[in-house]
């Protein structure tokens, strides 16, 4: 896990702000500086620090009132908070500590000591966090909860592969599944629960369970329509109070090896990319369905593609088209299209080793998933 050292300094004295900022920047901290509690609150709406270091004596809103307003704001309440002040009155210090401040540092404390205290605290938080993460991962593995498959299915005449990367290595909201019905039919599932990290990950299992159940129920009724399956899943999700506040996209495909066809229905998913080998053309395949659970009638459709040898399909989630550029983050479908073009006639393994994928792995913008299907014979 990357070590984040983002600190918000709050002091009405510009000299103190500058001095502390320099000392902490030298130690690798990214410092945001606020000259008042009001300015600090404005910064917090834009960016979340790992810790706040605030003066006590400030005009208008003092450090205690600032701390109280943070405690009263759910999204800021749990940001670690330290007082840095010249106030030596024991009662005042005690009041500060009682406001869930993690430390109370006197301003005449030598700067290296202040930096060490902040560093030590953040290291402790990080170690605790990594321990918790490891315990959760172990528990999830013990329960055999995987949101991506552990092995690839073998499908007669088709090659299947995928690439998946979670946000900052947390399990996230993307989920992939291959449901093999028999030698003829295999369903391919790619979903993205809107959100990141553990919250989305937990819900991804709820959705995946619904999807698996809906596929099996429809198949047992002799209904192989991806559109009908999506309608069933949507109806359940829309009415279920546990998950109806959580939205998910879904691409559902059925490979029919007898007919060499793929039927596809989508719910708020990105258009697929279809490569026609004979025509050497790359085109988008768009479905009409809306996000699962958004409307009682999701407006789903069903598209059938007849694949010939060498044709391929790329199915992906929005993390694949998010990029960090010089002007900040952006979403751009075409950048991905351009990245994949040189690899259309090459093995998928080559694309997995491409600069594009290496940069995606390093960027940590969002959960990323890409499924690759090819007609091989």
């Amino acid at each position: 896990m990357p070590v984040s050292k983002k600190i918000l300094l709050v002091d009405d004295n510009p000299f103190v702000l500058e001095m502390m900022g320099r000392a902490l920047s030298k130690e690798g901290f990214y410092c945001m500086k606020a000259i008042s509690a009001t300015a600090a609150m404005e910064i917090l709406t834009q960016e979340r620090p790992d810790i706040i270091l605030s003066d006590y004596h400030m005009p208008d809103i003092d450090g205690f009132a600032f701390r109280q307003s943070l405690i009263a704001t759910p999204e800021f309440k749990d940001i670690p908070f330290m007082f840095l002040t010249s106030e030596v009155d024991n009662d005042v210090m005690l009041e500060g500590i009682n406001l869930e401040a993690v430390d109370y540092i006197l301003k005449d404390t030598p700067l290296p000591v202040v930096v060490s205290k902040v560093n030590n605290f953040l290291n402790t938080v990080r170690e605790q966090h990594e321990r918790t993460l490891k315990e959760l991962s172990v528990a999830a593995m013990a329960l055999n909860l995987h949101s991506v498959p552990q092995k690839l299915p073998v499908i007669n005449g088709f090659g299947v592969d995928f690439w998946h990367k979670s946000f900052q290595n947390y399990p996230g909201g993307d989920f992939i599944d291959f449901i093999t019905i028999d030698e003829r039919c295999t369903f391919v599932v790619l979903g993205d629960v809107m959100g990141k990290k553990w919250g989305a990950w937990y819900f991804s299992f709820g959705f995946l369970s619904y999807i698996r159940a809906a596929v099996r129920i429809c198949i047992s009724e002799g209904n192989f329509s991806t559109k009908n399956i999506l309608q069933k899943i949507n109806a359940v999700v829309y009415h279920d109070p546990v998950v109806n506040d959580v939205l998910s996209s879904l691409s559902l495909l059925m490979i029919d090896t007898n007919k060499s066809t793929i039927t596809y229905s989508g719910a708020g998913d990105l258009p697929l990319l279809y490569y026609n080998n004979a025509g050497e053309s790359l085109e988008q395949v768009k479905s009409s369905g809306m996000l699962l659970g958004l409307m009682p009638n999701g407006d789903f459709d069903e598209i059938t593609l007849k694949l010939k040898k060498g044709d391929s399909l790329y199915i992906f989630t929005d993390g694949i088209i998010d990029f960090e550029g010089g002007e900040g983050k952006k979403t751009d479908y075409n950048t991905f299209t351009q990245a994949i073009e040189p690899y259309l006639n090459k093995p998928f393994a080559d694309f997995k080793n491409s600069v594009f994928i290496k940069e995606k792995t390093a960027a940590h913008i969002d959960d990323c998933s890409l499924i690759y299907l090819q007609k091989t014979s």
Binding site: D245, G268, D269, M290, L294, D318, Y333
Partner: protein
């Protein structure tokens, strides 16, 4: 505060005050939208004028607010989408769920008509 609100004709314009509408602000945004709907606002224009990037967490919060609005017989429309965000709305068919206007003023005028 992620939203700054003002009324224009019969509409409540809720301007998003962040450049990157992401996981960090999505819960706060949803809570503020829920409060605006609870205050009986029936036509809310979410103004993306200042937003350059939206992630799926934030879109999830927006869509969740829409479901809450529909349940409370309120309407949410969006305005001021930049090219990338507008493209994303179309790619994932959110343009079917939300009326999209070029500007908040245009959205407010539409309500007035």
């Amino acid at each position: 505060m992620i939203l700054v609100t003002n009324t224009h004709k019969d509409a409540l314009i809720a301007g998003i005050q962040v450049k990157e509408a992401n996981l960090t602000v999505s819960d706060g945004f949803k809570n503020e939208m829920t409060a605006l709907i609870d205050q009986d606002n029936k036509y809310i224009v979410v103004d993306f004028e200042q937003v350059i990037y939206v992630d799926s967490s934030f879109l999830g919060a927006l869509v969740s607010a829409l479901k809450y609005a529909i349940a409370n017989k309120a309407e949410i429309v969006v305005a001021g989408l930049n090219k990338d965000v507008s493209g994303l709305f179309q790619l994932i068919r959110l343009d079917k769920a939300f009326k999209i206007y070029v500007s908040a003023a245009e959205a407010a005028d539409n309500k007035a008509q």
